[in-house]
Symmetry: C2
């Protein structure tokens, strides 16, 4: 992977964004510094960085994909009202893991807990 100014700006945008941005949000952020960048380039680089393990791509049911600079195992909270995605620490889930892995005739490779609700920010405003 060769250096590119655009990719660095994209990486930086994801790291600085407090609540995991969509590709479109990254596009908007990067455009402030690099007005001629194309959306295609943003998508290409986000996918590339995710594939290299430098970023996490979070696919959500029914919504746009999000990107996360934190690559260690953790879970996410999705606000139903504003659509923002927050990190959450669920701590030790070995009980759940053991139960899942106890299921016969299916080789478990991973699992994800998606939690939905209303975030503090939205709760205050209503």
């Amino acid at each position: 992977m060769k250096y590119s100014r655009q990719r660095e700006l994209i990486r930086q945008a994801v790291m600085e964004h407090p609540v995991h941005p969509t590709a479109d949000a990254v596009y908007a952020m990067v455009r402030e510094r690099e007005p001629n960048i194309s959306l295609g380039t943003v998508y290409r680089n986000l996918n590339q960085l995710a594939q290299q393990g430098e970023l996490l791509k979070i696919c959500l049911p029914g919504a746009s994909d999000r990107f996360d600079a934190r690559t260690d195992a953790h879970h996410h909270l999705l606000c139903d009202r504003c659509g923002r995605l927050y990190d959450i620490e669920l701590g030790d889930l070995s009980g759940l893991e053991a139960r899942i892995r106890g299921i016969t005739d299916f080789t478990v490779t991973g699992y994800q807990v998606y939690i939905t609700g209303i975030c503090q920010n939205c709760a205050e405003k209503h």
Copy 2:
């Protein structure tokens, strides 16, 4: 909601399908008996039935939506290889629920456990 032959065939297709079909799969099934049915009608009715609670619409990250005739609370296994979706009983998850609800500053309305892996069928063939 008024009776329609098409809707009955759609409902039946979902009930009979062993591993929760996509809209497209339902379309293919129903077309055998109702060759002129349109894909739009299939989507409209699946969404309608899901909204009435007669069906479950399962949104998967990165894949097409699936439909499930079982409407009680249960979780799902997604095969990475063939893309089929299976039902799973995780039993009592009150520990996890309590932990999730213990999170401050977020009003939890729901959560979903998505488990990925290789199904028996695919494991045998390789």
